[in-house]
Symmetry: C2
Subunit: 636 residues, 2 copies
C-alpha cells in the first residue's frame, strides 16, 4: 500500500454543510446550465458548439455531410469531457436518472466520434484528419484525450458503466501505438494527459497507460527544440504560438532538472500533478524531488495569499519570484484547481500539513471566487484588487473583469470548478490500509476502504469545531491541523486525546462509537507579507479560518481605496453583509478613511476619519454588482 490515496468517489456523501451546499449548487444549477451552454441553448452565453462538434465529427466519420462543421477553440472537446466528469461525480451524491441518460447520450456521441483506429478529436476529424499529431505545440489533442480519460474513469467509478472507459482505453492504445510502438517524437504542448493516464492506469490496471504517462513525463524538455523542429515541418498554425518559448510549456529542461515553476500556470500544475502521481506510483525519488522543488518554488515565492498562482496575464503565466501584483493578477481559477490536484497528489507521496494548507487556501478562496454564489457566472481571472475605471480598461488590466460573465469563449474554468467541487470528497479525505486521513474539513458521511465509517459535523469555514463520530470500524485517524490555526485542541470522547503530531497532522487511534472533537482557532487574524514582495509592503490582509477576507465598496460607502487598517485596531466577527447569504461571515476592522483630495498630489495630508470597515470572504466578492474590492490594505 502506498502512503495514502484519495478515497473513492462513492465513499463521501456530503451533508447540509458548506461542502454539501456547494455540491447541491453544482447539481441543481451548474451542471444543467453548463449542459445548456454545451448545446448552445443558454441565452446570453458565448456559443460553445461542442455537442454539435461531436455530432458533426461522427457524421464525418460515417461519410455523411458534417453539417455546420467545427466551431470553437481547438480544445473545445475538453468542455464536454469536464462536464461528463462533473456529472459522473454528482450522480454519486444525487442519483438522477435523467442526468444519467443525458450523460449516456453524450457518451454515445463521443463514441461515435471516435475513429476506427481509436483516434478521438473532433477538431481534426472534422477539419483535416491528415493534421493529426502534427502540432503538439498548439493542437491540444493529447490534452482533450486526457480530459476524456478522466471523464471515463469518473463515469465508470460513479455508474459502473464502461462504454466511455472502453472508448478511452482504445484511444490510449492508439496514442501508445503512435508514440511508443511507432516511436514518434514529441510530448504534449499542454500537459494534462499524464495525470489522466495515471488515473486510467489505476482504474483499468492497463500498464500501457502508466508507461505512456511516464514516457511523456520523461521525454519532456530532453529536446527543448522539439517544438521548433515540429513547427518547421508544418505549414499551418492555430494561433502562432512561439515554439521557442520553451519555458512557457515547461519544456526548457528535463522535468527532473527544472528548478522554477515557469510558463502557463495551468500547464505547470497539471504536469506536476502527473509527475507526483508517477512519483508515488513508482516510488521515484528523483521525480518526487523535482515535485518538491517546484512545489517549494510555487508556494514559497510565487503564490498569492488567496491560493492564486500565475501572476501575469502575459501568457497566463508564472512571473518571477515575489512578483505578485494585486490589481493585474491573473490567478486563473483553473490554475488554483490544478494546484489542488498537485497538492492532493503530493499528499499521496508524503503526508505533510503544508500540502493540505495550500489545497485549502486555494479552494476556499480562489477556486470558489471563480463562481458566483448562484452558480451562474464565472471568473477566469481572480484579482486581489478591483478598481472600476481602471480594471478591465487599462491596457495592463483588460483581463481583470469587474463582473463575472456567464460563460467564456475559452470555457475551461467553469466546468473545471464543477468537477472539482462535485468530487471534493477525494481531496478532503484520504486513506491507506490502517489510517483514515482528514485533509479538509468536509461535513458528511465517509466510508473508508478499510471499513472505518464516520460522520463529520461542522460549520466550517464559519465554525471552528469539527466533530467526528466513528460509526463503524477502528484504526488510525489523522487530522490535519491547519497552519493558520495558532491554537487547537483535540478531544476524544470529551477528554484530551492522546494524539501524536507529525508534520502538521494529529494521529489518533479510534474505534466504533468514539467521538472526536477538533477545536480550531476561531479568532480573526492579520496577515503580513515579506518585504521581498514589493507590491505588498506596508499592507495587511485579514482572515479567519481558511478564508481570506476582502473589502468591497458596497459595504464601505462605495470607496475602499481610501481605507487604511489601524495597525493595532480591533478586529471582530460581524453579521452577514446585506445581500449575501446569512451564513456568510464578515469581519469588522477599525480603520481610517482618507477624505477625497482635489487633484492627484498634495503636500497636505488628507484628513482621516475613524471608521469601522467591513470585510467579506474573498470568495463571495462581486455578487452585488460592480464594486471596488481590495484584499491587501494599507496599514495606518
Amino acid at each position: 500500500m502506498k502512503i495514502q490515496r484519495q478515497i473513492s468517489q462513492k465513499a463521501y456523501h456530503a451533508d447540509h454543510s458548506f461542502m454539501g451546499s456547494y455540491q447541491k449548487l453544482i447539481k441543481d444549477t451548474v451542471i444543467p446550465y453548463q449542459y445548456s451552454v454545451l448545446k448552445d441553448e443558454a441565452e446570453g452565453a458565448e456559443k460553445s458548439h461542442v455537442i454539435a462538434n461531436f455530432i458533426n465529427a461522427g457524421k464525418a466519420l460515417r461519410g455523411e455531410d458534417a453539417g455546420d462543421g467545427y466551431y470553437g477553440m481547438v480544445f473545445q472537446d475538453s468542455d464536454l469531457a469536464k462536464w461528463i466528469e462533473a456529472a459522473a461525480y454528482s450522480l454519486t451524491s444525487f442519483p438522477d436518472p435523467e442526468l444519467e441518460r443525458t450523460a449516456d447520450e453524450a457518451i454515445g456521441l463521443v463514441a461515435a466520434a471516435q475513429d476506427e483506429d481509436g483516434y478521438l478529436n473532433t477538431y481534426y476529424t472534422i477539419k483535416d484528419r491528415d493534421k493529426r499529431y502534427t502540432n503538439l505545440l498548439e493542437g491540444h489533442e493529447l490534452y482533450c484525450s486526457g480530459h476524456m480519460m478522466e471523464a471515463a474513469c469518473a463515469y465508470y467509478e460513479a455508474t459502473g458503466k464502461d462504454a466511455l472507459l472502453e472508448v478511452m482505453e482504445k484511444n490510449m492504445e492508439h496514442i501508445y501505438d503512435y508514440f511508443i510502438t511507432q516511436g514518434h517524437e514529441g510530448y504534449p504542448g499542454h500537459p494534462e494527459i499524464e495525470l489522466a493516464l495515471m488515473k486510467l492506469y489505476r482504474v483499468t490496471g492497463n500498464e500501457h497507460a502508466k508507461k505512456l504517462a511516464e514516457h511523456f513525463i520523461n521525454v519532456r524538455g530532453v529536446d527543448p527544440h522539439f517544438y521548433e523542429k515540429e513547427a518547421k515541418k508544418r505549414d499551418w498554425t492555430v494561433w502562432n504560438a512561439n515554439p521557442s518559448d520553451y519555458n512557457y510549456m515547461q519544456a526548457g529542461a528535463p522535468v527532473r532538472k527544472q528548478t522554477r515553476a515557469t510558463g502557463h500556470a495551468v500547464r505547470a500544475v497539471y504536469l506536476l500533478t502527473g509527475m507526483a502521481d508517477a512519483a508515488s506510483e513508482d516510488e521515484d525519488a528523483s521525480l518526487l524531488a523535482a515535485c518538491e522543488r517546484l512545489w517549494d518554488n510555487i508556494t514559497k515565492k510565487r503564490i498569492y495569499v488567496t491560493g492564486g498562482i500565475g501572476s501575469t496575464f502575459m501568457g497566463e503565466a508564472f512571473s518571477t519570484d515575489y512578483d505578485l501584483p494585486n490589481d493585474t493578477a491573473y490567478c486563473e481559477t483553473c490554475a488554483s484547481i490544478g494546484l489542488m490536484f498537485f497538492a492532493s497528489r503530493m499528499l499521496e507521496n508524503q503526508v505533510r500539513g503544508e500540502y493540505g494548507d495550500v489545497m485549502e487556501r486555494a479552494f476556499y478562496n480562489t477556486v470558489l471566487a471563480g463562481m458566483s454564489l448562484d452558480g451562474k457566472r464565472f471568473f477566469y481571472v481572480n484579482p486581489l484588487e478591483c478598481a472600476p475605471g481602471i480594471s478591465g480598461i487599462s491596457p495592463t488590466h483588460r483581463h481583470v473583469l469587474t463582473t463575472r460573465p456567464g460563460w467564456h469563449t475559452c470555457a475551461c474554468c467553469p466546468p473545471n470548478a464543477a468537477r472539482l467541487i462535485s468530487s471534493i470528497g477525494k481531496y478532503a479525505y484520504g486513506e491507506n490500509e490502517s489510517t483514515a486521513f482528514c485533509h479538509l474539513f468536509a461535513g458528511g458521511h465517509v466510508e473508508f476502504g478499510n471499513g472505518l465509517t464516520l460522520d463529520c459535523e461542522t460549520e466550517y469555514p464559519y465554525g471552528f469545531q469539527v466533530k467526528y463520530t466513528i460509526l463503524k470500524g477502528n484504526g488510525g485517524l489523522a487530522l490535519r491541523i491547519p497552519g493558520w490555526s495558532k491554537t487547537h485542541s483535540l478531544l476524544l470522547n470529551g477528554a484530551t486525546a492522546n494524539a501524536s503530531m507529525k508534520e502538521g497532522y494529529a494521529y489518533i487511534q479510534v474505534r466504533t462509537g468514539d467521538v472526536i472533537e477538533l477545536l480550531l482557532d476561531d479568532q480573526p487574524y492579520r496577515i503580513y507579507a515579506s518585504s521581498r514582495v514589493p507590491r505588498l509592503t506596508g499592507c495587511t490582509a485579514i482572515g479567519r479560518g481558511p478564508l481570506i477576507y476582502c473589502f468591497e465598496g458596497v459595504d464601505n460607502g462605495g470607496d475602499v481605496m481610501g481605507l487604511s487598517l489601524k495597525r493595532e485596531g480591533v478586529l471582530t466577527v460581524g453579521p452577514a453583509a446585506p445581500g449575501l447569504p446569512p451564513s456568510t461571515g464578515t469581519l469588522l476592522a477599525e480603520a481610517l478613511k482618507a477624505e477625497a483630495m482635489n487633484g492627484l498630489y498634495s503636500q497636505k495630508p488628507p484628513a482621516q476619519t475613524p471608521v469601522t470597515a467591513t470585510a467579506i470572504p474573498y470568495y463571495a466578492w462581486c455578487n452585488r454588482g460592480e464594486n471596488q474590492m481590495r484584499v491587501w490594505m494599507p496599514t495606518a
Copy 2:
C-alpha cells in the same frame, strides 16, 4: 505682440550653476559621444548607421551604388536631426569651430540626400522611392522632416547659416505641394511636424509652413478611418501597426473634440505642442480650449509626481485616469521632454504658474533621470520603483531596465535630452515687449528682446535664494512662484517688493541697478496622493524644492522595500551621499525597517527597527550600480 514668447537661443548664457554644468556636460560629453554613435564609432553602443544612411541616400540619388544601404529604425534620420539641433544650441554657449565644422559637414550630407523635388528621407530614398507617403501610419517621413526643420531653425538661429534652412524650406514646399496643392489625404502617424512647421514659420515667415501645420492639425481625426483606408491600398508594413487603433495616434476624433490624452504619450504631447503653437499664433480659442482640456486631463489625472507621463508599456502610452503604477511605469524620457514643450507653449497662450510648475517637475526629475550623471548612459523608461530580480525580468517589467544602457536601438531619448538641455534658456525665460518672464530659475546672463539685461545667481535646485541683478534697461519682471513653495518672500533692493500676484507669478517693475531677491521655501516636504490612485494609497513621497527624492539600496543597507517612513517623523537635509557629486543633496527621514520574513506570509508582524533612511534626488538614481529604488514609501 503675443502674451509672451520663449527668448531667443542667444539671449541666455548659463553661468556655473546647475543649468550651466548640465549644458557643459552636454557640450563636453553628450554631443561628441552621440556623434561617435551616429558614425558607428562608439564602442559598445548599439549600431546607429544614420550618417551612413545619409551618405548612401546621396549616392542613390546620384545614381551611384548605395553602399551598405539603409540600416536602423524607419525614423533613424531624426537622430541626426536632433544631434544637429543640440549642436546648434550648444554653439551659442560654447563656440567651437570644430563642432561647427562637423555640423556643417553633416548638413552637407543632409543636403546631398535631398531629392531634386525637395523630398528628404533616407529610408525611402535608399529602399524604395515609390513608397513615399504611402504609409503615414508607420512611415515617419513627416516626423523626420519635422525634426530636421527644427534642426534647420536652430542652426540658423545659432550660426546665421541658412544652408539647412533652405533644404528644409524646400522640403516643406514639397510636402505642402503634396498635401495642400495636390490635395492628398492624410496626416502624420507620429505628430511632430506640426510644431516644427510653426518654428519654421516663425523663423522664415513662410506662410505655407503655418498653413501646412494648421492643415495637419485640422484634418487629424476628422476621418478616423484614414489609416485603415491607407493600409488597404498598400501591400507592405513596417511593424504591423494596427490602423484601427485610432486613439493610439490621437486620431479618434478631431483634435478640438478630444477630451482625454490617449495613446502613445510622445505623439500626444508633440501634437499638443503644435496645437498650442497654432492656438497662440492664431488666437484660436477652440484650439486653445482643446489644449487646456487635454492639459488638465494629463496633469490632474495621468501624471506621476516625477513629471513622468505615459504610464503603460503597452504602446508607450497613456493608460486611463489614475492608473499610475510605480514599478511598471513607462514614463518615457521623451514624453516628459514633450510635456515641457507643451507647457512652454501653453505659457505662450496664458501665463499661469501651473504650466511652469509642471515643466519644472518634469525637467528636474524625469528628464534629468533619463541621463546618467556622467552624460554617457541613458534611460528611455523612468520607473518610480526598481526591484532587481523583478524589474527587467518579469513579463510586465521587461521594459524597466535596472541600469542605463549606453545607447538604444530606438535612440530617440538621448539626443532629445541633449537638445532640450542645451536650449534650456528658452524654457526658463520668456518675454513680451514690456515684461521679462522667469519661468524656471536658471543662473546666468539674460538679454531680453526689449533690452532688459539681467544676471541671475542661484544655487537652485539645492539653494532657494534666487538673486536677479538688473544690468540694463527697465520694465516688468515676472517671476514664477512655484506651487511647491509654501512660503516665499520677494525683496527689491533689500526691501519687500511691491509685487502683484497673478496666477502664480509675481509681477514687479524693475530698472537698471535693481537687485531682486526671491526666497523660496527651503524645507523638505512630504507628498500624499489622492486615494483615487490605487497604487499610491498608504504611501508618502518626499521632496525639496523642485526635486522629488527617492530611496536607493546603496544608501540604505541594500534594502529599501523593507522601509516605511514614520508618519510624523523628522525630515532633514543631509550631506551628499557617498559616490554622488558633493553638491547633490540628500534628505534624511525617520523610518522603520522591517526584518526579513521566512516565506511569503505570516500572521506575526515582522519586527521593525527605527532607522534613519537616506533619500537622494530622483534624477541622480542609478549612478552607483544596480540597486533597489523607490519613490513612494509605505507610511508607518
